[in-house]
Symmetry: C2
Subunit: 224 residues, 2 copies
DNA sequence: GCAAAATACGATCGACTGTTTTTTTCCGGG
DNA sequence: CCCGGAAAAAAACAGTCGATCGTATTTTGC
């Protein structure tokens, strides 16, 4: 036998993609064998090579396409460009949480399988991620300029926010205690609190925050 | 030839452990071959089996021992048990950042290689992590009771804080822009801001926060 | 200095790996 | 109806994998 009845290229390609996503997310790229993947799709292992040149290209495509989709979706969520920084940060957080919570497997792979990418492929993905981070940094910077945000260090705040938001994928399960909407609003509240900074009780709202735990004195102590 | 001159069990064991840590952190558990590990240590592959029964046990020991050390170190950092919640949270954050920033490889493995653990071993590690999380939750709960902390959901705040703190290991490099101490203080400030919650400008400091972005109405909308 | 334990070698096992090639069959457009 | 290209099977390749074994040598305790 050879070509099976009812076979269709695009349909098989999609099946390979989604099966590969699940297998890599569950067992990891290195631990997923192509025989396992083929069995999941219902074809022979050799036939996979009608759809990619090698295993590495398959992983890279999976990651690259997700990152491209992510960028496009974020840009769509952030138009119109106007709005004050609080509103833009709100839109960013609500988008990020909603998008990631729907695609936990892709997100997990994009973080945990970077080490499985060959150097050239890794460089491409790292650049895309840096662009994404910058979009958040720009919002924080704008809010810092108008005074609605008070973070010690914009770069640190960017990384902290992305880490806590992306971490949702590690524990959120549909049907859990909280709905997706609830999780989104709770995390939005925490991000806004973080961005607005420390305002200890008893301080007039327009007064600058006390020096306690603010950096600038210690920040460059160990800079290279 | 057989036993080599100058060979010592404990010394080899430590060499295997540290080489394995680096290899797994770099390439992943599945991608690390025992031949690679043995070559790094400078012994033959079969000799590794004098130090563990199989590859899985090696990974499990690596993770389990780290978690045990982590717990012991945290407990030591949190004594005496007294102190107000802000001080205890400060101690927790400063400990967590300092401890994790010194052991990025262990931390990375403990998060990313959980999927490589066999079910029984995984259950042990998950339990240990839950205990660790609970210690942070208890601090947040105490602060919530006295009113110094105002988070919408203690469980979410626990996960958010741990995610943003542990994320430091993913990007911190010695000799970077910020010293370890600076990173620690900046993240402490962000955690405190997050825990103290949203206090919009114009609100009296003792008045309860406005309902905007607070949960309770929406939290159980999709609960199972 | 001698016996027992510790340590490592070196060869080997069968199973599995990613990949290539050839062959067979089916699908879609003329 | 039929033919070219698409799709999959089938078989094979050369390596590598984790694991086991008997054996040789060194270290250690007495």
């Amino acid at each position: 036998m050879a070509r099976t009845a009812g076979s269709s290229g695009p349909r098989t390609e999609e099946a390979i993609r989604s099966a590969g996503l699940a297998l890599i997310a569950t067992h990891g790229y290195a631990a997923m064998s192509l025989r396992q993947l083929a069995a999941e799709v219902g074809i022979q292992q050799g036939s996979l090579y009608n759809y990619f040149r090698n295993k590495q290209e398959f992983l890279f495509d999976l990651i690259r396409i997700h990152m491209q989709d992510l960028h496009a979706a974020l840009d769509a969520a952030l138009v119109p460009e106007g709005g004050d920084p609080v509103e833009r940060l709100t839109r960013f957080v609500e988008f990020h949480v909603a998008y990631h919570i729907e695609r936990p497997q892709q997100v997990f792979i994009c973080y945990s399988e970077l080490r499985s990418l060959e150097p050239d492929n890794l460089a491409v993905v790292v650049d895309m991620r840096r662009d994404y981070e910058r979009k958040l940094s720009d919002i924080l910077g704008a809010g810092q300029a108008t005074g609605v945000f008070r973070v010690d260090d914009i770069r640190m705040a960017t990384l902290a926010i992305l880490a806590m938001l992306s971490g949702i994928c590690n524990w959120y399960r549909p049907g859990g205690r909280l709905s997706k909407d609830a999780v989104r609003e709770i995390f939005l509240g925490m991000v806004l609190a973080l961005a607005r900074g420390e305002v200890p009780a008893g301080t007039a709202e327009e007064a600058p925050p006390p020096a306690l735990h603010r950096r600038n004195d210690v920040a460059r102590a160990g800079a290279a």
